[in-house]
Symmetry: C2
């Protein structure tokens, strides 16, 4: 049943070349922009990984066992009873006022950032925030700076608008500041996209010092900083670091999401936008889909009112923290020397780097035979290349299974290293 | 309290010029494309119209009194009990399989169109379908042909991608075929967008003869036909006409929506795409927001399984049909000679044309003073102009109120005509 895997892998992360051999005039109808957009490699991998007895560290999913199902059901019934028809009608493009109030208040109380609810826009997951920003800001061929490795979804979104990418390497304490400064000076990029807390894919968190430096650097240029923070609440060790919304408020867009703290199916994210660009992003939102599912906005607003979110997050932190610890311990125990892994203080991912010249794509094929999956590093780079690093997810697999999976992975690495000797 | 209305009107349907006087470097960061997108005039009008004792024919909303609230609540509880965590997790970009099956089956049984569920994509309302098609098909400056008057949301969506518009006038039996042929020949537009059933804004339906002609014309060019059909089910008189998905399957994208037949808050629409373009539209969907709210997809799928949709639609048809009839009767009774209105066979709108040279924008200001609102025709034209026609919505106002509102409108028209004499 795995026969088609290598074929899929070869296709993934390449330009879409499907159908071009068909003799059909519709083949000539596409825009130039869509030809350059990579299909989501991860979503393709996930389709494989869920189909069998493979232990999957490939996912990027929150742990469904922790979903507050009963509470959400209670909140939903309350919404039906208290709001009924109103919660089922068309709604404002900006989003539900009470939900935007809640979000603004969280920034104020938890991060000391003065956020006006009128600068909050509710989106279909924070992914849509990227699409709206790209639309609003980027002309074709303009530059975007992002982290290396960087979030695949961002690369995908910006690709649709024919962005030119410059990636800046990540150190253990965040993005490389000198390289960032040089990249912005050289490209005059309008957007700098980053995930400063427990980055996807690397798990790295920017230190306060790096954040302050980055704010100073970005402030020198006509550059908008996009702080994507889907995992910020999921910190299981270390201290909270200041948001760019605090350090550089007039030039920072903060993206957030309920996908990892409540549930993903609602597709509820948000943007906090500087005054100067809010109006135009709303226009882009109207053109994109009028407004975000308002029924789910009512449910989440009710849920947040009735149940303290912090209690629920505490539970997630504990489980993810324990699983992360178990994974790191297993890696240290089983992986051969010369293999490095990051040690995240939160989030859902860690990042493994194989010795130079060893391909994580080759490892992936061996690992699948050994019934363990992960995401090879390639799609986190804007230019196609064969990298030696890969991403492991620890949110969805219990500690015992993590130990078995890491052992299988260690065996796979050994097997690959032997082949290369 | 109406003092700001004329100001708003002057601003609406113009290029967004907000903020440009502020001295702030962020003012220079925008893409060229967003500067040309009109803000939704209707949404701005709606904000005014709901705030007072105005009788509003301005909305485009389905009648909330007909929402199947109890059934949806029962279906939602079933989803929690039968699917629980699964319905709350991330899901496939394509949409929920059982919902796509239902949609395909409806086309098969109701319209005799052989639709493969694997060519159905669930979107955030059919509005998102327009965004995804524009992304996938249009290069900047390329041509789109649409109806005149045409759906404002389509003009907005395509504007984001810097489309060049050619509008083709509508006759009583649908689009003017000769003019369409000329427009396509001249512009070689890649997209022809139409709403052949009870069009928004005009209420006009294409006859079978016009449909067959249009299919033949479009087939001559490298043009994709977008058939947007949010109101098709809401037919209260006349006979069902064949879909372009039947007449021109390889070149037609069918857009549909549950917003008018179930509820709008879920933002559930769909696209049925020709094989040749399905894959790339999925890529655009992934980049836009990963997938549509899956919890709401589960709810609607459950609802459709447990309650015959046709019963519910029958109820909507009856109410809208009666209200439409009442509106037409009042118009015939009260409006001065020389004012024309369409007589829709379904949907939610009819279209009134004042004598030549009489501005519907001027009428709007008088009508608001007289406590009745509608949507002036201007935003349904891609090029700004002062038109003499306007849109009336009959779905949300009961028959008694319709009579009062139409009378107020008639008085307003008299007032305006007197001023012009």
């Amino acid at each position: 049943m795995w026969g088609y895997v290598p074929y899929l892998l070869r296709k993934a992360n390449q330009k879409i070349t499907l159908n071009i051999l068909k003799i059909n005039s519709m083949q000539n109808i596409f825009s130039d922009r869509i030809a350059d957009v990579p299909r989501s490699f991860i979503r393709d991998i996930l389709k494989i990984a869920v189909q069998s007895d493979v232990i999957s560290f490939a996912g990027g999913l929150p742990n469904r066992n922790l979903f507050p199902v009963e509470q959400l059901q209670a909140s939903t019934n309350k919404v039906f009873e208290n709001f009924g028809r109103q919660a089922l009608q068309y709604a404002e493009s900006e989003g539900l006022p009470q939900l935007r109030e809640f979000i603004a208040n969280e920034y104020r109380t938890k991060k000391g950032i003065d956020v006006d609810p009128n600068r909050v826009l509710i989106t279909n997951g924070s992914q849509q925030g990227l699409d709206l920003l790209a639309k609003t800001i980027l002309n074709e061929g303009e530059d975007v700076v992002l982290e290396e490795p960087g979030y695949l979804g961002a690369i995908q979104s910006f690709s649709v608008f024919k962005a030119r990418f410059t990636q800046v390497k990540m150190n253990e304490d965040g993005i490389d500041c000198d390289a960032l400064d040089k990249a912005l000076e050289k490209t005059r990029a309008k957007l700098f996209y980053c995930v400063p807390n427990f980055q996807n894919p690397s798990g790295i968190t920017y230190s306060t010092k790096v954040r302050e430096k980055v704010a100073g650097i970005v402030d020198k240029y006509l550059t908008l900083l996009i702080e994507d923070d889907p995992y910020g609440e999921l910190r299981f060790s270390g201290n909270v670091e200041p948001s760019f919304g605090k350090l550089l408020p007039h030039k920072t867009v903060m993206l957030g999401s309920f996908s990892k703290t409540v549930v993903p199916a609602f597709r509820l994210g948000w943007m906090v936008l500087p005054d100067a660009i809010y109006e135009r992003v709303i226009v882009a939102k109207q053109a994109a889909d009028l407004h975000t599912n308002s029924f789910s906005q009512y449910i989440v607003a009710q849920f947040l009112q009735d149940y303290p979110l912090s209690n629920h997050i505490e539970l997630i932190r504990k489980v993810y923290g324990d699983q992360c610890k178990a994974m790191i311990a297993s890696i240290k125990e089983c992986f051969p020397k010369g293999v490095h892994c990051t040690e995240p203080e939160g989030g859902m991912f860690l990042w493994v780097t194989l010795p130079d010249g060893i391909s994580s794509m080759e490892l992936f094929e061996i690992a699948l035979k050994n019934k363990v999956a992960f995401v090879p590093g390639n799609p986190f780079y804007a230019d196609a290349r064969n990298v030696s690093s890969f991403r492991l997810n620890f949110s969805c697999v219990d500690e015992a299974t993590i130990r078995i999976g890491v052992k299988r992975l260690a065996d796979s690495i050994d097997e690959l290293l032997k082949m290369k000797r």
